[in-house]
Amino acid sequence: MTATSPPAVLRVTAAALVDATRRRGFWTRTVAAVLIVATVVAYLIFRTDGAADSDDAAAFRFFDSVRDWVDANRDTSPFFLYGVNYVRLGVRLLVDAVQAVLLGLGFAGLVAAVSAIGLVFAGWRTGLLAFGGFLAFGVLGLWEQSVDTLVLTVSAVLLSVLIGVPLGVLAARVRWVGATLRPVLDVMQIMPTFAYLAPMTLLFLIGEPAAVIATMIYAVPATIRITALGISEVPPTAVEAATALGSTRWQLLSKVRLPMARTTIVLAVNQTIMLALSMVVITALIDAPGLGQNIVNALQRVNVGAAFDAGVAIVILAVVLDRITTNAARRTRVHQNRRRRAIVAGGAIVAVIAAALITINPDRLPGYTFAEPVNDLVGWIELHWYDVTEGLKNGISAGILDPLETVLVTTPWWLFVLVVAAFGTLVSGWRAAGLAALAAAGIAGLGLWQHSMQTLATVLVAIALTMVIGVATGAFCARHDRLATAIRPVLDAAQTMPSFVYLLPAVALFGASRFTAIVAAVIFAVPPVVRLVERGLRDVPATVVEAATSAGSTPRQLLWKVQLPMARGGLLLAANQGIVMVLAMVVVGGLVGAGALGYDVVAGFSQRELFGEGLAAGLAIVLLGILLDRLTQGFHDSKGPRR
C-alpha cells in the first residue's frame, strides 16, 4: 500500500485540480456574462451627452498656480536655489563639455573618432559602417543637427550610466534597495515619453538641461535593470573562490563581479543608448536642438519629404550606435591578443588626432536630399491610392473608432471606474483592479474626460489591429522557418528605431488624422508582438504537437486548438507590451492630427495659458498607462501558461 500510494495521491490531486480549474472557468464565464449585461444596462440608463471638457477645470488651475509659484520662487526658494538650479547648471556644464569635445574634433575628426571606436571595440566592419554613416550626415546636409542630437544623447547616456550602474549594482547586492527600486522602475518603464516632458520644463525650464534630464529619466530604468541582472547572474562559485582567497567586498566587486558582468553591462549601455536616442528626438518639443526639430517642424506642416532626410539621419545614427555597442558586447566574450589591440588602439588615436587637425567643411561635400523624390512618391500615392487609403481610413474611423469613442465619452465616469474595477478583479485580481480603478478615478478628476476617452478609444482600436496583425504574422513565422529567418533582421532593425520615425510613413500614406496615429502605433508595436507570439508558439513542446498531429489534426486545428491556447502566456505578454507601446505612440500622434491628450501636452509647451491643461494631460496619460498596464499585467501574471 505504502509503495503505491504516492502516485495514487498525485492522481487524485491532479484530478481535483483539473476539476477546480474547470469549475473556476465556468464560474468566471458566468460572472463575466452577468457583468457585461449589467454594464450594457447601466450604460443605457445612465449615459451622458458627452459634453466637451471645460478648459478651466480645477486641476488646470491648480497646475497653473503651481507653475506661477515656481516662476515666482525660482530665484528665491532654497529648493531651487540650492537644489534644482544646481542640477540644471551641472547638466548644462556636462552638455557644454560634451559639445566642446565633439565640435572640437571637427567634421573629419569626429568621423574618424567614431570610426575608430567602431574599429577598436567592434571590428572593422562596424568601423566602416560608422564611417559611412557619419559621412552621410554631411551628405544629407544635416551635420550640425546630427551632432546636436549626438551631444544630447551622449550626455544623457553618461548621466544614466553614472547613476544607473551603481544603482543596478546596489539593487542586485542589497536586498532592500532592490525591493524598493523594483516597483518604481515598473512604473517608470510604462510611462509614455510625453509624460516626462511637462514636469521637466516646470523644474528646469525648456532647453537642453531639461531635455537631457527627461531623457536620462526615460533611459535609466533599463540601465539599472540590466546591470542588476548581470551582477546577480555572476556564478556564485567564482565569488566564493575569491572570498576564500581573502578578497574584500570592494575587491570582489571590482575584480570579480563587475568584470564577469561586463558583457551584460555593455548590453545595458546599448539599451540605454537606444532609449536615449529615441527620447532625445522627442525633446525637440521642449526646444532641444537637433534632428528632432526638423521632424517636428516638417510634421506640423505635413511635409513628409522635409522630414524624411532627418528621419534617415536618425535611423543611421541609431544603427551605427547599436552596431557599435552590440558588437562590442559580443567581443567582450572573445579573448583578444592584448598587444595587438593596444597597437590598433594607438594607431586609431593617432589617426583621430591627425584627422582633427584637418578642416573639412561638411557643407562642401556633395549633397543629396530625399525631399523631392519622397514628396513625389507621396503625391503619387495620394493620386493613385487615394481610394484605398481614404477608404481604409474612413472605414475604420466611421465603423469602429467613432462608435467606440462615442460610447466611451458618453459613459459617466463613475460607471467607467466601476466597470474597470469589476472586470479588473475578474481577470487580474483585486490588487491590480484596485490600482486600475484608482487610475480611472484620477483621470476623471483631472477634468479631461473627453480627451482621455478619445485617446483610450484610439489606443483600443490600435491595439486590436496590432494584435490581429501581430498574431497572424507571428503564427505564420512560427510555421515557416524560412520566412522567420528573413523577417528577423527587419524586426531587429525595427526595435532599434526611435519612435518618432514611425510617424513618417503613416503621415505619407494617410495625411494628418487620428487614423495616422493608429497606423504609426501599429507599425511601432507590431514587431515586438510578432516576436513574442512567435516565441510563444515555438515554445509549445514538440511532443504535444506531435501527439496532436498523430491524432489527425489538420494544421489549422493544430494552430487553433493546440498551439494558440498553449501559447496563451506569450500572447498575453505580447498584449501587455503592445498596449504600452501603442499608448506611447498614439500620444505622439497628437502631433499629426490625433488631437486629444497628446495635443494637449504639446500645446502646453508652446502656449503659456495652456500650461496647466498640458500638465494635467500628461498626468492623464500616465494614469491611462497604469490603468492599461495593470489590467493586462495581472492577466498574464494570474493566468500564465500552465506548465
Binding site: A241, A242, T243, A244, L245, G246, S247, K255, P259, H335
Partner: protein
Amino acid sequence: MAPMIAVTDLWKVFGPRAGRIVGTPLADLPRAELRARTGCLAAVRDVSFDVEPGEVFVVMGLSGSGKSTLVRCLTRLIEPTSGEISIGGEPVRAMGPKRLRDLRRRQVAMVFQHFGLLPHRQVLDNVAYGLEIQGVPRAERHRKAGEVLALVGLDGHEHQYPDQLSGGMQQRVGLARALAADPEVLLFDEPFSALDPLIRRDMQAEVRRLHAEVGKTLVFITHDLAEALTLGDRIAVLRDGELVQVGTPEDLVGAPADSYVADFVRDVPRSDVLTLRWIMRDPGPDELCEDEPLSHRTVIRDAVHRVMRAERPIPVVDGDRRLGVIDADRMLAALVSHHRQVPA
C-alpha cells in the same frame, strides 16, 4: 605537537532562528524530524576532530551529509552556529574581519569542485589573484605564479584563458592558485568529482606528489572511498552531519564503527588495507617460529609470499616487542574472508 586544526563541538544549522536549537532538547532530534518541527536543517552536528601538522585528513560521506558545509565553516565562508575552531592555535571564531581575511590570504587556501576560476583572466592572472589582492607587485606575483604553475605541470599555458583548458587542467589552475600564497593548510572540497576517472587518478597522484614535496596540512573532502583510502592518513566519516567514525584507513576497514561505515567499506579488498596486526594470533606454548620476524605494520598482501612459503609461523613484532604470530591458515582465512563479489 599541537594540532594544526582543532574543531570542538561544531554546529551549523540552516534556517530561521537557527541559534535557538543548539543546547536544547531540539538538538537531539534526528535531522528529518528537526526539519519538520522547526524548518531548520542541521547540516553539521556536534563535530569535533583534530588535524595534525602535515597530515592528510579526509572527510567522507554521502552527498548531503554536510561535508561542504563543514569545510566552509573552517574559514567561516559559512558562519558556524556554535562550537570552537582553531587553526594554528588561534581561535577562528574570535577573529575580526581583517584578521579573518589575512587567514584566508596567507594561511588557508581552498580548492573547489567547480574550480571557481575567473573567466576574464588569463591563467597566470588567475593564479596570481590571491597575491594581487594582498598588494604584491605585479612582477613578483607573476614570477611566483609562474613557479607554482610549473609545479602543477602547467608551464606554457600561462597566457591562455580558463575556457581554453580541459577540466583537469582547469583544476590544476585551481590547485596552483591555492598554492600560490604558500599557505600552511589546503582545503579541498571534492576537487576531482567533476573530472573523468582517468584524469581523476592523475590528479590524485599529483596531490600525493605535491604533499610529499611541499608538506602542507591537507583537509580533503570526497564521497569516493577509493580516493579517501589512497590519500588519507586519517578518514572521518560523516552521516547526516554527524561524525560516525574517525580513524586510519585500516581502522575503518578492520573495525567499522557501525553498519553505515561497514556498508561503505564492504567492497574494499581487506588484504590491501589491513596490516598483519589484524590477523595475527597468540603463539601457542613453546611453539617454534621462524627467526626473521615481520613488522606489525606490513600490509597483508605484502606478507603473503613469505607466510605461505614458511614452514613455521612467523613472529609479528613492534620493534623489539613480539605481538603475536602469523601462519598460513590465518593468512588464507584473511585472503578469502571478505565479502564475496559474485553471488553464489
